[in-house]
Symmetry: D2
Amino acid sequence: MTKVSIIGATGYAGQELVRLLCGHPKVEIKGLGTQNYKGQPFSDVYPNFRGIVDLPCQGADDPQLIAESDVIFLAMPHGQSVSLAQTAVEQGKKVIGLGADFRLRDPKVYEEWYQTKAAPAEQLAKAVYGLPEVNRQVISQCSLLANPGCYPTTVILALGPLLKEKAIDPAWLIIDSKSGVSGAGRGTTLTTHYCEVNEDFKAYGVPRHRHTPEIEQELSKLAGQEVQVSFTPHLIPATRGMLSTIYTVPLAGINAGKIAEIYQAYYGKEPFIRLLPVGEVPHTKWVSGTNYCDLAYSLDPRTGRLTIFSAIDNLVKGAAGQAVQNMNIMLGLEETLGLPRVAIYP
Amino acid sequence: MTKVSIIGATGYAGQELVRLLCGHPKVEIKGLGTQNYKGQPFSDVYPNFRGIVDLPCQGADDPQLIAESDVIFLAMPHGQSVSLAQTAVEQGKKVIGLGADFRLRDPKVYEEWYQTKAAPAEQLAKAVYGLPEVNRQVISQCSLLANPGCYPTTVILALGPLLKEKAIDPAWLIIDSKSGVSGAGRGTTLTTHYCEVNEDFKAYGVPRHRHTPEIEQELSKLAGQEVQVSFTPHLIPATRGMLSTIYTVPLAGINAGKIAEIYQAYYGKEPFIRLLPVGEVPHTKWVSGTNYCDLAYSLDPRTGRLTIFSAIDNLVKGAAGQAVQNMNIMLGLEETLGLPRVAIYP
Amino acid sequence: MTKVSIIGATGYAGQELVRLLCGHPKVEIKGLGTQNYKGQPFSDVYPNFRGIVDLPCQGADDPQLIAESDVIFLAMPHGQSVSLAQTAVEQGKKVIGLGADFRLRDPKVYEEWYQTKAAPAEQLAKAVYGLPEVNRQVISQCSLLANPGCYPTTVILALGPLLKEKAIDPAWLIIDSKSGVSGAGRGTTLTTHYCEVNEDFKAYGVPRHRHTPEIEQELSKLAGQEVQVSFTPHLIPATRGMLSTIYTVPLAGINAGKIAEIYQAYYGKEPFIRLLPVGEVPHTKWVSGTNYCDLAYSLDPRTGRLTIFSAIDNLVKGAAGQAVQNMNIMLGLEETLGLPRVAIYP
Amino acid sequence: MTKVSIIGATGYAGQELVRLLCGHPKVEIKGLGTQNYKGQPFSDVYPNFRGIVDLPCQGADDPQLIAESDVIFLAMPHGQSVSLAQTAVEQGKKVIGLGADFRLRDPKVYEEWYQTKAAPAEQLAKAVYGLPEVNRQVISQCSLLANPGCYPTTVILALGPLLKEKAIDPAWLIIDSKSGVSGAGRGTTLTTHYCEVNEDFKAYGVPRHRHTPEIEQELSKLAGQEVQVSFTPHLIPATRGMLSTIYTVPLAGINAGKIAEIYQAYYGKEPFIRLLPVGEVPHTKWVSGTNYCDLAYSLDPRTGRLTIFSAIDNLVKGAAGQAVQNMNIMLGLEETLGLPRVAIYP
């Protein structure tokens, strides 16, 4: 059994890690680090875990968390993972960061979009961007993993193969994304107040949401050229679920058959990507609680434009589930271990 | 007091007309026509009206409905308004159709998109497309009014002035719309089952939603050239509310100031359009229950693209409220009469 | 036009007062007092009011709020209204307190349940409990009005007539109440976080919710004897709406006809109480946004027990609407002025 | 591997069985019987199962369903299981009925409350009421199991031990229950239309909900005397979750300690019952997707009354999960096999 600690265990992504890892057959949860609940049983903070994970929380800075585990998950607000990651890597541990700290290669870009100091260059140089469907090989050998953001996961999975195969125009990438509220975390803000969200719908972060440079960095790498996107996130009055609707233009000679072929080639054997039959569109509910990304597209014969739909559960494939998938790869385990496949429905 | 009848009064748009008209100071509701509730008090079908509108429903084809009223609202499923409208116009009544029957000028286009027989050409020729902010003058003189669809209302109000003023590229109009469930009507279908909608989000009608030709017809007229759009509607897990997020490209020489100026010129005095301050985006909740359309835009300096946000209550400005606004204009009344302005919040 | 100020205008009850009063034909809103938004336009805090109430907020302690108005609404957290009320009454103003400060006659009971110092005895002596259907006469002559709590409103309206007419056993009053989230206010707490409320249901305040002594005080007065209740509130995953399901036992000789007769005698002419037909039960949605209380009951022939259902909109009849109804009475206006009757549906 | 068939697999309870059974380590799903989807892959009807359960549905009356399986789950509307159960039992299969057909001992009671013909007396005589915490022993030996209704499960688990130990007054059992919408099934009715349920709350089935006689039958057996209850169900605007709030009176000499002791004695070792610490109340969200029943109580020192709270997921412990638990017992497997324990949160 591999020993794991989760630092930042009482945020929504953290507790989702606990849910997945406490059912993982090859893992033992050794420690749960938190900022506010030191000494309290985890099941006091999340009573759905009563009788299942009653482990007392430790302080986020408790050195035992790192010392006694083999894999350290860091699910802290950005800016708070850098020194913890440093310590853990120095002790030879595997580190999986769920925050933004290690995702952007260029510290200047990070500092511009996040308005905080970036991680040291040598740390960034070591970190691997953990989207298994794109760079599984590198992930398997890394010890510092930057788990992707939720929006970037939907977008890169949708556009990556088409950009890499030069099937679409990289100058026309318009991304209209929608996310459930849990993506905003458990912090108590007016924006997440039930009465403000329920029966409402709105965009936010216009026009500079922080996931934009992450999307552009990864798409540029795949396209082999600088790529800019228009990215607008919206808030769905729902707890979970994320859907990106992406508008682009196929390059000359690319028809629906070719697009199907490309997706099939890239994802036909992926355990967590489902290519929907022609004519269907993904529902967020179909992937809720699971690690799936459901993909579909529609090539409009009238306008010649291509619309791609990409749905995930923002807390699973968009955070904790993908982190566990990455851990499985890093540890040489079967990639699907401990990851739920059937969405709870309805 | 003007006498009005509502045929199709027990659908969601119909009952919203009843709500607005029973509080209208210059109107008396004379008759309520329905297909399924003949003889039952209206307040049995919608008990929120108990003690307020207890009028018994009549059959939709009851000739008294037309004979005894001055204004006839037709809130029937498409295809069922043609002969009723004919009869009413012949009797010299004002007719306001909330369905799609009279919106499209070209019967061939109607038949292609709706798969039903179009209204007779002479009837279509008489019908006026009732978007007051665009063609108030013609509305004031017509006797057969085609009340706009909900999605087209959000889109035409957002794009009309910019296309007319040649401020944006008509070749790049990408419309990502989101609607509450009430737009689907009161019919009992799996698509509107609580458990299927709640905690879900999805697109639908891809890529051929019926509001597409209506949007294109009106935008083409305003642009002075044929315009094609990419239009993708989505379903919000909420009862009311509609938001369109529209992506386009400003033409050379058009900056944010110019766009503000255009909107100000067109809408600065409109009673039901609110131009939000720079940096804000509309929330559907801010217009819920009211006849407002809230508009905002963001010109991204990085990409040069323009994103426009347009929010309405799909049952009010998107249906019944706009119909009452049109009635006020047609009757020479103050345009805002009987139309609620303060959204219920939260 | 009567001049009114609302102190505590940016809480949910406060802004609901603004909604109702800005549409009231005999009232002019003169000032809006707040604790946190001094100097900001009210429509910045609640953008649904943009273009309608753009008045800048004043500090809650701004003496102009009281000096320049005839009626002062105090919608502050409990404990903060006492000296404001004092000042206003001394200046000869009409004061309507929406908080709990003046509801309980006995300062000791107040202090036991609220754990704060009670208002001075002479102030409590002047205050009138403002449930119009019970004590309209006294309300019309008072200058310090204690607006009832939301739960007590549902319960006293349901049980008052039956207790007064000795129709039910005062030893068996079991009240199972359910409230929408807006009753908890706009404060940002974990309890009102969207993700914690959505898809959840639970009781709270067990077994000592603060509305218990208020219910018992008023029921005892009506019953002419000391009455104790079992009261358990629950949280509905909805923004608005309150339903109390009340279980009791008819006294000997009381049958369904007699109960109908009593309700009819007390409420047959009440403008804001609707007695539902036998066999129907109230839906919170039927009264949403209105000042109605919908009442129904069921006498079970099997068990002999009586179940009463009482539904209101917690922010209207349960707070702001009832306050306006009281203001109308205190000012000698028509009691229904400015109070919406048709619930927005669906 | 035990072979199982689910007849009525495309209702909500049926598909929940599929979810649980397709992850069960000792079971193989052999057939899925449906009334309306014959020949279609199950994952067409529930696309969350795409790639997981793509088995084509069979007609509900396909004899292979019974012939080729060892355990037959009948998740049909009541009245349609009788002859299927007959056939299956005759072939020596284990039958688990999720409908009401075999729950009531007395055919007259069944016919009075369900207004349909009861199952034959000899079938009823064989059927065992499957609440494992009450009669595990009998379940382990039966071949025709009547899986309990959702409401009765919450109530019998809450009251059973107290009635059996003569700790409460059987004359005072008042049950106020609340259920999520999924309990109403996937049928398309106005009652389950999103717009009618969302932001609404109401009672239903007053005063004769069909679960009443089932509750009374089982409580009477446990109490050793005839017991009558007041039972009022309500609809929560949520998909899943059920909470019963139960009001009763302790008998002389019974204090909180004694109640705790009784619950501990009966449930301390039960794998699917969690006794919450004093002062906590169950949230439906804490058990969502799991087979737990969370129990708490509050003895009010003021009134002397006892309030008990009992929460389950209506589709799991209230239907499919309990059915699987029963199957495990009937097959001599570990009772918790295949039953999820961690609720998805938030």
